[in-house]
């Protein structure tokens, strides 16, 4: 269990973003945080990663021992800011060298990472010449090459095309099942909610989660209205059918 106990945090002393917030996340689960901007989703991810320190409260990872900071991978939405390597290969190898792996181990992990995100052949490309989506793939590859136990994704696949995105989710979910990886993420895409087995809705100036439950329950709640309207896809289609027997009939057509 990852435990956040009585977290209080504010960026400026006047307004508290969180007050006595509690959260427990099971190992191996996939949790998606949703809610309007400014509610504190990214802040909470950064607190878990240890990038910022809460004014009060604690974050504990009792289940892992020893627990090292590179066991948590954190990816923001704008990878360009975090690159340290000049080329694709340097970027992936940087972290691996820092944790003191052998040359052969580094090569093996580099190969695996490149294949996983389909950047084989890009080893010597300069990172700044990559497209937004390719940069996000690279950032993900670099993080996944480390000994991950927890993966925090802050809308980290937003610049990929839909096919790349769904492919990446397929293997992220695969890693979760195989390695027991725990995933906590935020997203702007409705279909990515299906990768979560738990949804948390964080509202502005509320100090607890407004919703904490299953994806299907979230989608049928009013909280999802704007999102479904924006997505203009199968959820909106099914909702607009109105009659339950029609919805059941049409569900087959809208699943892929």
């Amino acid at each position: 269990m990852i435990k956040l106990d009585n977290i209080s945090f504010s960026y400026n002393d006047s307004e508290l973003l969180f007050q006595d917030l509690n959260l427990q996340i099971e190992i191996g689960s996939s949790v998606c945080m949703v809610g309007p901007e400014g509610a504190g989703k990214s802040t909470l991810l950064k607190i878990i990663k240890g990038l910022i320190e809460p004014q009060a409260g604690s974050v504990r990872f009792d289940c892992f021992s020893p627990f090292l900071s590179h066991n948590i991978g954190y990816l923001g939405g704008d990878p360009d800011n975090s690159f340290v390597g000049i080329t694709v290969q340097e970027e992936i190898v940087f972290g691996l060298e820092n944790i003191g792996l052998s040359r052969s181990e580094i090569q093996e992990r580099l190969d695996r990472a490149l294949d996983l995100v389909e950047l084989r052949g890009y080893e010597n490309r300069l990172t700044y010449t990559l497209s937004g989506g390719e940069q996000q793939k690279l950032a993900l590859a670099a993080v996944l090459a480390m000994d991950l136990k927890i993966l925090l994704l802050d809308d980290a696949l937003a610049m990929m095309d839909s096919l790349s995105r769904s492919k990446h989710w397929t293997w992220i979910n695969g890693l979760r099942r195989r390695l027991g990886l725990t995933i906590l993420f935020t997203t702007g895409k409705l279909e990515e909610l299906n990768s979560a087995n738990r949804i948390l809705f964080l509202e502005k100036n509320q100090h607890d989660f407004v919703f904490d439950g299953k994806t299907a329950d979230f989608l049928s709640s009013r909280l999802a209205d704007d999102w479904i309207e924006l997505e203009n896809g199968s959820e909106k289609f099914l909702r607009s059918l109105g009659k339950p027997f029609l919805i059941e009939k049409m569900k087959m057509l809208t699943t892929y």
Partner: protein
């Protein structure tokens, strides 16, 4: 403003081991005041194309014409005519206050009176739904993410560009702010003042606004034309078909099942209505 591109090629880092041919023989014509959606797999050359359209990059070969004039002849002024809203444009905000940021271009351009500058800033803010009077002395950083993005757009609109290009306008936004931005772009279409180009991996929210669609693949223009023509054309290529928003996939499935969904329909609500009506007319119920 009409955009015409002829045999456009662009190569990054030519004559080095990192040479990368990002655009290959791209040719098309976008009529004035159209709204065009540009789709393509990650790394297909979309952003490179946009940068060539607004003079940020100079074609390796080929030509770009704006209303018949080659962009080369006014390269340095091109960004004012073709406004480009980058991915995460709020990163470009750098001044202390909103007013200073939005009026930045006038510090170096032709001298205008204070009233004129204020009026231009006011109009630009109005177009994106911001109240200049209320926020002009605030720090850019204090604004919400949606407002920051709107401000970044306003700071481009202040030049009154004839073409406005959005590169992934919704990336990184929560759905509630994203919906606001979609409405903003929809208003811009209604005003019919500019040619609008939208690059997005997620075209679903924009489908009903588009006059034309363009699909890029490996640096080449794979398909270009009306939305229904483009959707039909790329439907034979599985990887490209996947790029089209789910609503187009749904439409194809419904059409296959015999529902009379028009080719140019792209709203989930109206499709549901057609389906429900068919069941009603057949008297199917439970």
């Amino acid at each position: 403003m009409e955009i015409r591109v002829e045999n456009l090629n662009y190569v990054y880092s030519p004559q080095t081991p990192w040479r990368h041919n990002a655009l290959k023989d791209v040719t098309f014509r976008i009529p004035s005041l159209s709204v065009v959606g540009i789709l393509g797999i990650t790394g297909s050359g979309k952003t490179t194309l946009l940068k060539n359209l607004n003079g940020l990059l100079e074609p390796t070969s080929g030509k770009v014409f704006l209303d018949g004039t080659e962009i080369k002849s006014f390269q340095s002024q091109a960004p004012k005519v073709v406004g480009l809203v980058f991915q995460n444009p709020e990163k470009q905000l750098f001044e202390e206050t909103v007013f200073k940021d939005i009026t930045f271009p006038f510090r170096f351009g032709p001298k205008l009176s204070e009233e004129e500058v204020y009026h231009k800033a006011f109009l630009a803010c109005q177009e994106v739904g911001l109240d200049l009077e209320q926020i002009k002395d605030k720090s850019c950083k204090s604004l919400s993410e949606a407002s920051k993005r709107k401000l970044a757009i306003a700071s481009i609109l202040i030049n009154d560009p004839k073409v406005l290009i959005f590169d992934e306008p919704l990336a990184g936004m929560d759905p509630y702010s994203a919906l606001e931005l979609v409405r903003l772009i929809s208003n811009m279409k209604r005003q019919r003042k500019r040619t609008l180009l939208i690059v997005s991996h997620d075209m679903a929210p924009f489908m009903s606004l588009l006059d034309m669609m363009m699909v890029m693949h490996r640096g080449r223009l794979r398909s270009f034309g009306s939305c229904s023509d483009v959707c039909k054309e790329v439907s034979s290529d599985k990887r490209l078909f996947e790029l089209l928003p789910p609503i187009v996939h749904l439409k194809h499935r419904l059409q296959k099942e015999g529902f009379a969904i028009p080719d140019d329909e792209c709203d989930a609500y109206r499709m549901a209505k057609i389906v429900a009506e068919k069941f009603n007319s057949e008297g199917v119920s439970r």
